[in-house]
Symmetry: C2
Subunit: 442 residues, 2 copies
């Protein structure tokens, strides 16, 4: 852009929003930001931003606006709250980016509300982000954006400023498609975050050394981005406040299950994860890092387990932990992909996005592609020409859950996954691991 | 029997066994009993029983023997423990009743072990019981008995002495069939015990009066024997020690899930219940009454909820609790019946047994029959000519889970059931409620 950079309004200077807005300042934009917390405004000023004293002030005369509040309820309030809201204050033909993680139905309702209040001159983009505070600050987020062609054309430069070049995903399907893409990615995230805790809980009850568990899993087909990321915090008991609060993933999983209900679509594993998260909330773990959910499975620090198992015994038990994660991750991949198909998302794009993001896992990488090809074909023709067979995953999972039962360890996701894997076996003994996706075929 | 009554040996004078053995004494039998607890022997003597000082003494010269210990591990120990076990001491041609609740595989292994030790002269009957301590003492238990025709003929009089005339079920299929029948009945019990707690937990979070919840549910299609029975203890917080310990139902559900794994059969709801029970165990609730599981859903006494809801609001929320139980009970019926079919049990007998026992529910009564007819037909032809449609149950369940989510109440069984109900909807909008059983068709 050789012409002077346009002014940008910004609302929501929290962990993510602050980094995003500050990055735009660094890129040479004049950014007027608003937040309900005065200290955030003060900090923003020090970064070169312009603090606004009201929502209206942050929006007046700004041709571009980024809304990065925490929830749909907050977005509704800041966008449309009577005379004081952002929408009322934006100039004609402004471009509005909603970067919060919200249900797609809410994003679509914003389009409708803009019409209802006579402001469909505003170019609206539904563009949730992913990647954490550090990537927000460096302008290298993943962004999943949906909107009209016109809106996307107008807003693209801004989306590009905030995202990594390879991680800006323009999702076909208009407003709502961005939120849906984020949602199906979070299916993987929500399940795999909890699977990490479940794995460490089981490992502790089996008498395994937590560090050895980590080392083994990250070098195995049980690897997931979430396991590798969260396991560091588990080993350090770094939950207070930690990096990513339980309440955040609980909000995201709530979007998954409520949207699934809206579509009459089953999300059995996400639903199980949500219930365990609710139980964690009831234990007071809400503000703690989500890695602290391991305490739902093992009350003491898992690193305190003094492993005295003979080497061979430890090795076979470690293997059960690997098997258990593999089974869960396989089902998570199937739940994410089939839900994506159900809401009409482009599946190849989901694959490209998730395989290299926080939802990534070896199982998603290895079986996700085959699941997608299968769904495109319309009916199950999955035979294991290459890769693992469902039967082998089932046998491993049976052994893992058998052993877990002896330790009296609650295995919400593992036993839930085993049920799904067993249900999927109508495909016969030759079926590929990817054929588990048939269970979600409604 | 006009001839003198035969001598009976008895082992395991716990809550159930003491009543059973004492009842046999009252019926005029000479009963020689053994237990590891001296005070039980003392008490038994006062009831007119003959205390034995060893296992061998309780068995020597006894043509009939009843083993009523708590677990398969205990049974293995008392039956076969070297020179001191019951089997070694029993006279040639004795009849041995194993009344403990054990996996059918264990019951079958007893037959094999009798052969292996050269004692297949013993007539062995696999005959678990149900009904609680009071009915044990009055000789009106439910009994599910499997064995060879010869063994059943020899032991029948004894089974009749211990059971209600209408509740002695001779189950076709030989040794193991009795245990399997008890197991599939416990599918209903295990799910419906926890459903009671889940319902009261949700009701409390919705701000409902617990007594009104009880009154409403027991007069509705959400009725279950377990709800009616356990709700009394919930209202009185009568958990210490209560009547039926969490560890007992946890043992039974462990038999369900481990046998299901052996058969590669999915028992998703029983598995969910087991995990929540494990979490309850980790909270220290093991020795408490299983009705105390309500504390997993609502930490304070549910009777302390001071309901201030307007009458209409309370009524619609009460209705959600009813809907939630209806959905769970429907799925429990399907899981029990389909598992029974899978292990080859006579389904009409299961129906007759369970409809009038602790596993009974209105949903089992109303939809169980249709499920059984459907399974006999071999493939799904279920159309809702009469009775409820699956679609209507799904809509109700969606509303209940939606509302529960707002209260942040963990709804393990309800959300698990909703997933199963949604998976079952391949049958189309006209399908009957009973068609949910298709999900278990593996």
């Amino acid at each position: 852009m050789s012409s002077p950079k346009p002014e940008i309004g910004f609302c929501g200077l929290g962990a993510m929003g602050f980094g995003m807005a500050s990055n735009l300042v660094k890129q040479g934009y004049s950014v007027t930001g608003f937040d309900v917390a005065p200290q955030s405004l003060e900090r923003f000023k020090k970064e070169g931003g312009i603090p606004a004293s009201s929502l209206a002030e942050s929006a007046e005369g700004k041709p571009y606006y980024v809304c990065m509040v925490a929830t749909a309820a907050q977005a509704q309030s800041v966008l449309f709250e009577g005379d004081k809201g952002i929408v009322k204050a934006l100039p004609k033909g402004a471009t509005l980016l909603l970067c919060s993680t919200v249900p797609s139905a809410y994003a679509q309702s914003v389009s409708q509300q803009l019409k209802d209040v006579g402001r469909d001159d505003i170019f609206f983009i539904d563009s949730p982000v992913s990647g954490g505070a550090a990537r927000a600050a460096s302008g290298t987020l993943s962004i999943m954006a949906g909107g009209s062609d016109e809106a996307l054309e107008k807003g693209k430069f801004l989306l590009q400023e905030m995202s990594d070049a390879k991680k800006l995903f323009i999702v076909k399907g208009g407003v709502g498609a961005g939120s849906n893409m984020k949602m199906v990615h979070q299916v993987l995230a929500a399940i795999q975050i909890l699977a990490t805790s479940e794995a460490f809980g089981l490992a502790a009850r089996l008498g395994l050394d937590a560090r050895e568990v980590r080392d083994k899993v990250v070098r195995s087909e049980a690897w997931s981005w979430m396991f590798e990321n969260r396991s560091t915090r588990v080993l350090e008991e770094d939950y207070f406040p930690g990096v990513s609060a339980l309440t955040i993933i609980l909000k995201d999983v709530g979007i998954i299950t409520s949207t699934a209900r809206l579509h009459n679509f089953p999300t059995p594993l996400s639903s199980i994860a949500e219930q365990v998260y609710f139980s964690g909330l009831a234990q007071g773990f809400g503000p703690n890092d989500d890695a602290g959910m391991v305490r739902m499975y093992y009350p003491d620090p898992v690193t305190k387990v003094n492993s005295t198992l003979p080497k061979e015994d430890a090795s076979s038990k470690l293997n059960l932990v690997v098997c258990m994660l593999v089974g869960i991750h396989l089902c998570a991949a199937a739940e994410s992909i089939s839900f994506a198909k159900h809401v009409g998302l482009p599946l190849d794009q989901l694959y490209e996005l998730a395989v290299d993001a926080a939802g990534g896992s070896i199982m998603f990488q290895e079986c996700g592609k085959q699941m997608i090809e299968d769904l495109k074909g319309g009916e199950s023709t999955l035979v294991a020409s290459t890769g693992r067979r469902l039967d082998s995953i089932v046998q491993d999972m049976l052994a893992a859950v058998e052993e877990a039962q002896k330790t009296k360890c609650p295995m919400y996701l593992a036993s839930g996954s085993l049920s799904l894997l067993l249900m999927a076996r109508r495909g016969g003994r030759e079926a590929s691991a990817a054929s588990v996706i048939d269970v979600w075929r409604v």
